[in-house]
Symmetry: C2
C-alpha cells in the first residue's frame, strides 16, 4: 500500500521541489516504484525531473477541477520506476476555482485512491502557501516532510506551520503524521546555519532527519539540465545527501 | 504624490521581503518618507523591520476584510521616516475570504488612497503566489520591482509572471509599469549566476537594475536581529547594494 507523503512548507524557496525531485528519484533508482505528484502551479517538480512543459497534456488541474481520472494524467519520467502526475500553468486558477466545489479539500485524496496500490511511495510537491492546493495535499497524505532552510526567516514560519498541521489533523485528516523535518541548504561556514539547526532540533524534538542537505551548487544546476542530481552527478555531495535521506525515509514511519 | 511600488514574484525565496525591508529602510535613512505595506501572511517584512508580532493590533487583514481605515493600521517602525502597515497570521485567511467580497482586487488600492499623499514611496511586500493578496498589491501599484534569484528555477517562472502582469494591466490596472528586475543572491564564484544574469538581461531588455544584490550572510542574519542590514551593518556588501539600489529607484520611473 503506497505511503503518501506531502512535502510542504508555506515559506518560499526552502527546497520543497528539490527534495520532491531528488528524494523520489533516489528511491526509484534504489528499485522502488514511486509516483511524484506536482501540486505547484510553478511546475518545478515536473520540469526538474525532465518532463518538458510542452509535452504535458492532461495535468493535475484536470484531475482536481474537471474530475479526470488520475490514471489519465500520469506520465512516465526519464527515471525508471518513477511516474509523474504533472502540473501546468492552469493549476494557478485552481486555488480560487476549488473554493466553490464540494469536498474541495478532498479532491486529491479521492483521485489518488485508485492508483495508490501501484506505488510504494507517492510524494506530493506543494506550493509556498497554505491554500487549497496545499490543503488537498495534506488531506491526501499519510505523512508530511517539512524542508527547512538553515536561515532565520525559515524559523519564524515554523510555529504557523505546526499550528496548521494541528488544524488539519482535527478537521481534514486525523491520521496525518510528521515523517520528519529536513534541514536544507546547510552552510557549515556560517554561525547562522548552526543556530538554526539547534533551534529546529529543539522545536521538532526527535523528528528531525539525521541527514542534513548541504548547500551544493550541483543541486541548483541540475534543474537546468532537467535531471535529478542523483542521476546527473551521483558523486556530488547533494546526491549523496538525498540517497542517505531516501534510506532514512524507508526506515521511518512518522510519529503523530 | 507617493509612488506605490509592489515587490512581487510568485517564485518563493527570491528576496522579496529582504528587498522590501532594506530598500524602504535605505530610502528612509536618505531622508524620504516611506510606508512599507506587508501583504504576506508570513509577516516577514513586519518582523524584519523590527516590529514584534505581539505588538501588532490592527493589521492589513482588518483593512482588507473588515474595512478598517488604513490610517488605523499604520505603525511607526524603529527606523525614522519609515512607517509600516503590518501583517498578521489572520491574513492567511484573506485569500479565501476575499473571493466573495465585491471589488475584491481593489480593496488595497482603495484603502491606500487617503494616505498616499503622506509618503514619497509606498512599498508592498507580496507573498509567493499570484493569488488575491498579490493581485491587490499589483492593482494598487504604479510600478512593480521583480526580485529574481540568480538560480535556474527562478528563470522558469519569468514568462508566467510577465504574462500575469500583461493580464493585470488589461483587467485591473492599465497604468502598471515595471520599475525593474532586480538580480539577487548573486554568487560570482558560480557559472550559474552568470548564466542567469545574461538570460534575465535578455528577457527584460533594458529594465534590469544595474545594481545586483550579492549573496551576503549579513543579509540573512539581519532578520534575527529584527533590523534592516542598512542600519545593522552599513559597511556590509549587502547594505551597500541596497543603498545603491535606492538611488537607482529614485532615478527611474518604470517603463510599461
Ligand atoms: N541544497 C541546495 N543547495 C543549493 N541550492 C539549492 C539546494 N536546494 C535547493 N536549491 C536551490 O534553491 C532554490 C530554491 O529551491 P526550491 O525551488 O527547490 O525550493 P521550493 O521550496 O520548492 O521553492 P518554492 O517555495 O518556490 O516552491 C532553487 O533555485 C534550487 O535549485
Ligand atoms: N542577498 C542575500 N544574501 C544572502 N541571503 C539572502 C539574500 N537575500 C535574501 N536572503 C535570505 O534568503 C532567504 C529568502 O529571502 P526572503 O525571505 O527575503 O525571500 P522572499 O522572496 O521574501 O521569500 P517568500 O517567497 O517566502 O516570501 C531568507 O532567509 C533571507 O534572509
Ligand atoms: Mg517548489
Ligand atoms: Mg517574503
Amino acid at each position: 500500500m503506497g505511503r503518501v507523503i506531502a512535502i510542504a512548507n508555506q515559506k518560499g524557496g526552502v527546497g520543497k521541489s528539490t527534495t520532491a525531485v531528488n528524494l523520489s528519484a533516489a528511491l526509484a533508482v534504489s528499485g522502488m516504484h514511486v509516483l511524484l505528484v506536482d501540486g505547484d502551479p510553478q511546475a518545478h517538480a515536473t520540469s526538474g525531473i525532465g518532463i518538458p512543459r510542452a509535452s504535458v497534456g492532461i495535468s493535475l488541474y484536470d484531475v482536481l477541477i474537471n474530475g479526470v481520472a488520475m490514471a489519465s494524467a500520469l506520465m512516465p519520467s526519464p527515471v525508471a520506476g518513477l511516474d509523474v502526475a504533472p502540473s501546468s500553468i492552469h493549476l494557478a486558477g485552481a486555488e480560487v476555482e476549488l473554493v466553490g466545489i464540494s469536498s474541495r479539500e478532498h479532491r486529491l485524496r479521492d483521485a489518488l485512491r485508485p492508483v495508490r496500490e501501484w506505488y510504494e511511495f507517492i510524494f506530493i510537491d506543494c506550493p509556498p502557501s497554505l491554500g487549497l492546493l496545499t490543503l488537498n495535499a495534506l488531506a491526501a497524505a499519510d505523512e508530511v516532510i517539512v524542508p527547512i532552510q538553515c536561515e532565520y526567516y525559515a524559523l519564524e514560519g515554523l510555529s504557523q506551520l505546526l499550528d496548521s498541521l494541528t488544524l488539519i489533523r482535527r478537521q481534514l485528516n486525523p491520521g496525518l503524521r510528521i515523517n520528519g523535518a529536513l534541514l536544507t541548504m546547510y552552510d557549515g561556514r556560517t554561525n547562522l546555519s548552526e543556530q538554526v539547526v539547534a533551534e529546529v532540533q529543539r522545536h521538532f524534538r526527535g523528528q528531525v532527519f539525521a541527514t542534513i542537505i548541504p548547500r551544493n551548487v550541483r543541486l541548483a544546476e541540475a534543474p537546468s539540465f532537467g535531471r535529478p542530481v542523483v542521476t546527473l552527478d551521483p558523486s556530488s555531495k547533494g546526491a549523496a545527501a538525498y540517497v542517505a535521506l531516501a534510506q532514512e525515509v524507508i526506515a521511518r514511519v512518522g510519529e503523530p
